[in-house]
Amino acid sequence: MDWRSIIKRATLALMVAGTLLSLSACTGDPVPASGNVGNVELRDLVQGGARLVDVRTTAEFQAGHISGAENVPVDGIAEAVAGWDKSKPVVVYCQTGSRSLNAMGYLTGQGFEHVYNLEQGLAAWDGELAEGEASGPASPASNDGPTMYAFMSDG
C-alpha cells in the first residue's frame, strides 16, 4: 500500500468520525444516571416521574418554587427521606445549586440510585414559579405519614 492510499483512508476515517460526532451533538447527550442537570433535563426527569425536591427554607419555598416540587429544607433531609424509595429518581434544587449539591451528596451516600441536582439552581430557572405552601408531593407516594387530602373549592 502506498502513502497516497494511506492518506486517503485516514482522511475518509476522519470524515466518518467527524460526521458521527456531529450527529451525536445534534441528538443531545442522554441524562446521566446521577449528577448535575439543567432546566431541560429537569423537566424531562419530572415528566418521567422523578420526585422534585426544593431544599431551601420554608419561607424561600413559599415565595416561589417550581410547580410540583415538595419542600424539604436541607437541614431536615435526613429525617424526611428515611422512608423514600431509593430506586426512584430524585431531583433536588435550591437557589444557586450549592445546598442542593450537598443534598445530592447525602442522598447518594444513603444509597439513592438516581439523584440529580439542578446545577445553577432556581437562579437560572427559565419557567414560571408557583407561590405559597406545598400542596403535597407531586407523586402519590407520601412519606409524611398517614394523610388525608381534602380537595375542596371556594364555590
Binding site: S142, T147, M152, S153, D154
Partner: protein, 75 residues
C-alpha cells in the same frame, strides 16, 4: 364541609396529616395532584397510608364519621 375538615385537623393534629387543597385557587400544584388521584368532583377526600398506598376515596359532603372511619384505616 370546611368547618368539618378544620375540626378534623385540630382533633387529629400530630396523628394524621390533613391537607386542604383548594381547587379554585391552588394552581398547577393542586391540579396535578387532583389529576394523579383522579379527582373529578369536589369535595373529594383521598386517604393515603404511610407507605404511600391509597386506602380510601370519598366523594361528596359526607358525615364526619365517614371521614373518621377512613382515617382509622390508615393506622
Amino acid at each position: 364541609m370546611k368547618p368539618v375538615v378544620d375540626g378534623l385537623k385540630k382533633k387529629y393534629s400530630g396523628t394524621y396529616d390533613i391537607r386542604v387543597l383548594n381547587t379554585s385557587t391552588g394552581g398547577a400544584d393542586v391540579e396535578r395532584l387532583a389529576s394523579q388521584y383522579g379527582v373529578q368532583y369536589v369535595p373529594t377526600f383521598i386517604f393515603v397510608d404511610s407507605a404511600g398506598n391509597q386506602s380510601g376515596f370519598v366523594v361528596g359532603e359526607v358525615p364526619v364519621s365517614t371521614l373518621e372511619r377512613e382515617l382509622s384505616k390508615l393506622d
